[in-house]
Amino acid sequence: MSESSQVKYTRKDFTSDQAVRWCPGCGDYSILTQTQKVFPDLGRKKEEFVFISGIGCSSRFPYYMHTYGFHSIHGRAPAIASGVKISRPDLSVWLVTGDGDGLSIGGNHTIHLLRRNIDLNVMLFNNRIYGLTKGQYSPTSEVGKVTKSTPMGSLDEPFNPLTLALGAGATFIARTIDKESKHMQEMITESYHHKGTSFLEIYQNCNIFNDGAFSNFTDRDTKSDTVLWLKDGEPMVFGAESDKGIRLDGNIPTVVELGDKWSKDDLLVHNKKDYMIASMLSNMTSKPDTPEPIGVLYAIDAPTYEDNIASQISSAIENKPKSSIQDIINSGDTWVVK
């Protein structure tokens, strides 16, 4: 990794010359903007960024970033990005995917990426619908959803992406929302700084096929009661007047009103290194009785696959320095015919 201490970039440096082709009003725009705003400040040379995506509306993203980019095939971005990062640990590799791309057809690559802990930054645009193919239900669509392919409502329980990621062995899971510019910028920055796979779920509104999927968490009048902003080391407070909080009742997270009965000291304190807290938080997702956890749920240090492989290789080279394939070709029982 080389620091670009000299160069000072602006948002424009990360904007490609391609016309952006999402529907007017699509949540993808904001994600692009926040990314282009944050990247200049990461302190890294522009040419070291690579964006890999699959197929879907969201996967158009690389075309709009003036970095190296690869818009690939449906679901395979995690594997392609793994190849990029393993072969070139010096690059900063970003993966843009959708709830269909990353969790339906690409689910296996996603979970294997997470367990390997390759240092990639995953941005999963979750709009709970297939946008590009014009509105079928996705593995994150809520039960009963009426779509083109489920005219009587969908039947299967959706994945909870963060719970799934945690189950797969993720070392970093976080969530943000398309409309929350500043928070998203923070999350992108934290993803960047996490060494290992960072898995960032972004609630993204598809105003054409699934409008308002997250309006509960974005509408002025509801959001302070429906969103729990996570801050590491701080008690879990929420509400317009910061008058509510999360308390553990046995092992069940429960909403309490702060005041006579409960004070901040009774609340659960967020600890992003605590697996059980992360498990509990991720499990609160879109449940009727608890607010939606937004922020970094879990982040721990762990060795990365590409570092491990690099160090195996250097120790192998140290043991047999200056090897050439010629040595191997020459080895074994040989004889000479004259």
């Binding site: 190296y68 995690p78 070139r88 394939i325 010629q326 000479v336």
Partner: protein, 615 residues
């Protein structure tokens, strides 16, 4: 008693036994010694599909065949002169291949009622005289001899009995006048930490040798002179290993880092194993979660500037089709290796076949041409692997390399190449000079090869985006224009076709015209060459062309084919190359198609040719 020594030109030996009997190892040792002795040779292992089917069962029989000769040979032989059968099941499975007059050597200890029943024998063939009329049968209680030889060793009877394959090996070494030394050395190295094992095996080996020397049942020993091979330093080489070396050589010569993305599958896994062990060469291997991740991780590595490889067998190729299409449209170098096996579906996973050629040509959506080449012998795997890499980076294209189970596991003596003398692989990554009017043009092609520039991420000012949607010529931007699409479809086809311009003139073995031409590709090369030699010796006007490149075909092939009255295309499939040839040249080529999980024999080819010529 005097033992006569008889000189012969060539011998075929088949070792057969239970999976647990170590037949592959026995065959391997015989091969190494035979190689060092200076014979030409060719081998063919034959594994069961089960890891370890029940001991003594027909499904569990494992075999290894070697042909060695004082002449230049091309195949592991059609029929064995000697069959070593370590148990009844092995005899049952292989006896029918032994010609009348052939020699059969059995371990009589294994012919007990349980094993006989498992093999489906009603009575003991070693005793009921059914074999005696046709074969020279040697029934030897190897197990007892070995336990005698080892009785003072501190080893369990079970472990001692495991040495019986070395007894058989020793006996064969005696029969064919081969030294024991290199096997003894090998044992010493292999079991350095287990001296008793070394000792028991060495004793078994010598016991077998001495049995031949001292007993009176064997009346003849054979000698096979050194082959008159081209001068040079030789080693014996197995196909998958040669292929791995070829890839590593290409990496070294091109100064690229080698990246292998793969998922284990028989019979390709050994390439993954071999390259995984060469970390000291800076090679990165990635065992992916499936074949799709194998190829796409490799494609990612290709995008970032590595020499990218993916290896698999037929079913894995079926899964990689979509990603191959992506490699075609993004024009990234990638070598895709298919070690073919018996299909369809899981088919006969440990047997050989040539039935994935059409899949290689067409197994993806849209017009997605990929260059295809195939290796002809185990040693040739080195050169085709190297060539595949060279073409991939020169033309910026995925390349498909076909080998098969027979080539992958077979071996032959091989002149040790000097990698300095291999054709250069010069890779020049894009740099500032590729910037036109302030913009990098990722699809601005080289005039001659039509290759697009290869720009490594991390290079200043070459930021660019590629992808699977149709690209605009020159800029590489997404483009839906009808005319551009037509142009790009044709350009991608032309780029592959252009490779033909650098192929050497096609080599015709035999006269350049005549009654019949045998046209082959892949692992049938040896059988076709042997058959041609025999037919020519027999006065027939037969020639042979073997194709290394199938896509594109050599520019001169059409002219050559029409000089023959008949063209015969032997293939281990229902006729695949022949379809391409007929469509291309409108020649009424004839197919010889045997889909039996094993190489077509030279004899079958000869017979077929004679029939055609008689008509």
């Amino acid at each position: 008693m005097s033992i006569s020594k008889k000189q012969v030109d060539e011998v075929v030996i088949r070792f057969a036994g239970d999976s647990g009997d170590g037949m592959q190892l026995t065959g391997g040792r015989f091969t190494e010694t035979t190689a060092v002795v200076g014979n030409d040779l060719s081998t063919l292992p034959d594994f069961p599909a089960e890891i370890r089917a029940p001991a003594g069962s027909l499904a569990g029989v494992s075999a290894f065949q070697i042909k060695f000769s004082s002449k230049d040979i091309h195949t592991p032989g059609d029929v064995p002169d000697v069959l070593v059968a370590m148990n009844p099941a092995a005899l049952k499975v292989h006896q029918s291949d032994v010609p009348p007059g052939g020699t059969i050597i059995c371990n009589s200890a294994a012919f007990n009622p349980r094993n006989l029943k498992l093999a489906g024998y009603d009575s003991n063939p070693l005793e009921d005289k059914t074999l005696d009329d046709y074969f020279t049968l040697y029934s030897i209680d190897m197990s007892r001899m070995v336990s005698e030889a080892c009785k003072d060793l501190d080893l369990s009877p079970k472990l001692v009995d495991r040495s019986k394959n070395f007894y058989a090996l020793g006996l064969l070494f005696w029969m064919y006048d081969r030294p024991l030394k290199s096997t003894e050395d090998w044992l010493a190295k292999k079991f350095a930490k287990k001296p008793e094992i070394i000792e028991s095996n060495v004793r078994a080996l010598n016991a077998g040798y001495n049995y031949g020397e001292t007993t009176e049942i064997f009346t003849t020993r054979y000698t096979v002179d050194k082959a008159n091979l081209p001068p040079g330093k030789y080693r014996n080489v197995v196909g998958n290993y040669a292929l791995s070396m070829g890839l590593a050589a290409a990496a070294e010569k091109s100064k690229l880092e080698l990246f292998l993305g793969s998922y284990p599958i028989t019979p390709a896994s050994d390439i993954l194993h071999t390259l995984s062990a060469w970390k000291h060469l800076g090679i990165k291997t990635f065992q992916a979660e499936d074949e799709i991740a194998g190829i796409t991780s490799a494609l990612g590595a290709a995008f970032s500037g590595s020499l990218a490889i993916t290896t698999t067998s037929g079913p894995g190729i079926a899964l990689k089709g979509e990603a191959m299409g992506l490699a075609v449209i993004t024009e990234l170098p990638l070598v895709i290796i298919n070690v073919q096996r018996g299909g369809p579906s899981t088919g006969l996973p440990t047997k050989t076949e040539q039935s994935d050629l059409m899949q290689a040509m067409y197994g993806r959506n849209g017009e997605a041409p990929i260059p295809i080449l195939a290796s002809s012998t185990p040693g040739d795997c080195f050169y085709v692997a190297y060539e595949a890499c060279r073409i991939a980076v020169k033309y910026m294209t995925p390349v498909m390399l076909l080998t098969d189970g027979y080539l992958a596991n077979g071996s032959e003596p091989w002149i040790v190449p000097d990698i300095k003398k291999l054709p250069p692989i010069d890779v020049k990554f894009a740099d500032k000079s590729n910037i036109v009017d302030g913009q990098f043009m990722p699809y601005l092609r080289k005039k001659d090869t039509l290759a697009r520039p290869w720009a490594k991420p991390g290079t200043e000012n070459l930021e660019h985006r590629i992808g699977g949607i149709e690209k605009e010529d020159v800029t590489g931007n997404v483009n839906y224009d009808p005319e551009n699409h037509h142009f790009m479809v044709k350009t991608r086809a032309l780029k592959v076709q252009n490779i033909a311009n650098e192929l050497p003139p096609t080599d015709v073995y035999g006269d350049k015209s005549g009654d019949l031409l045998i046209l082959s590709w892949g692992g049938t090369q040896g059988a076709c060459r042997s058959a041609t030699e025999a037919l020519v010796n027999d006065g027939k006007k037969v020639s042979h062309i073997h194709l290394r490149w199938i896509n594109p075909l050599p520019n001169d092939l059409g002219e050559l084919l029409i000089k023959f009255k008949h063209v015969l295309v032997p293939e281990i499939n229902l006729g695949q190359l022949i379809k391409i040839i007929r469509a291309e040249y409108l020649i009424d080529a004839i197919g010889l198609n045997k889909v039996k999980g094993k190489p077509i024999s030279s004899a079958e080819i000869q017979e077929n040719v004679k029939k055609i010529l008689e008509k």
